[in-house]
Amino acid sequence: MSAGFQAIGWNRKKIVYDLVLLAGVIAYIGAAIVLDWRKAPPNSAADLCGLWIRASGACAFLMLTLVLCIGPLARLSRVFLPLLYNRRHFGVLTCVVALTHFAAVLGWYIADGHPFNLFFELTKWSDYASFGTMSFKVFGLGALLIMLLLAATSHDYWLAFLTPPVWKALHMLVYLAFGLLLIHVAKGLLQDERGAWIAAYFAGSFALVAALHILAGWREAPVDKGEAARDGWIRIGPPSSIPDKRARIVAAPNGERIAIFRDGDTIGAVTNLCAHQNGPLGEGRIVDGCIVCPWHGYEYRLENGCAPPPFKEKLATYPLRLSDGMVEVEPRPLPPGTPAAIRIEHV
């Protein structure tokens, strides 16, 4: 939870997550350099830069592949939710590795004695006439610029400043960066590396990410059609049909989702969108009377959708009623923080 600006809200979970990531990156790049070194020992400073270019490039591609798998995997199974908790640090570290890749490219040009050749290559405008003549470096640079923009705006300050829907839309540019990266590899590395397995590895990585996103997206499509309201109310079912400390998710006729939670004999309905990152609140649970978001642990009181002090986030709530022993929700959001929970006598 957040109250005001804080550089990074470190906790044990985040430190462990980051240390594991860092160890993985060091091990991967180290192993790649050792293997490459054995195959062709470097004879010059340019060769050394080449070693780092290949190792860091492969590492950044793998990292981006993994980062992009986390989201849909967490949608498909709760087992992967812990990976989502600190995904932004994973993304920022990916950008740092990609930056070292770019720095090594600059180092290679300097060691080769032609420090401005990269600039000349990228500004040879006639090459942009067709895809075939475009330099592979343009695609890599495009991906790097997107990753830099996303890393720079990854902090909660920007999330609050831009609002979650705009921030989320901006950060969807990472998919474009991934596509650009694949073209960068196809027009660069794969022009010389002719082995079928290496092309299959890169294409397969992209296919895996795409398949997971498409699968997660289409699996949820039926829910978005929305429930039909009768007399302006959506019937949920008897109170016992809502698991204790958990929620049932229904979609309003406009497709936006509502989470109906039950905490013993109290039932409350709030928007399914967490005020932090629009995480799926309805997949969270109730702890000590508060709804806890499954993504980053933001908390909201069930009765009014307000975060407990000193936090100030508020959720839109929805009117509820009990009709013929059935819980019904009116799919018309109330102003955020409006008390709307109801008490029932028998569950």
């Binding site: 969807m172 073209i183 498409i214 978005d224």
Partner: protein, 43 residues
């Protein structure tokens, strides 16, 4: 995620797959033939 984000996700990925796969295949199909090994050059 809001409904519009989910909707964009649902349509963006198939479109991205088509475009990226097309460019990926083009890049591989149009790559120049490999340079002959030094031994072959002598012959």
């Amino acid at each position: 995620m809001t409904r519009s984000h989910r909707l964009v996700h649902r349509w963006l990925w198939p479109a991205l797959v088509i475009v990226v796969a097309g460019l990926f295949i083009t890049a591989l199909v149009t790559r120049p033939p490999p340079e002959p090994a030094p031994q072959e050059q002598k012959q």
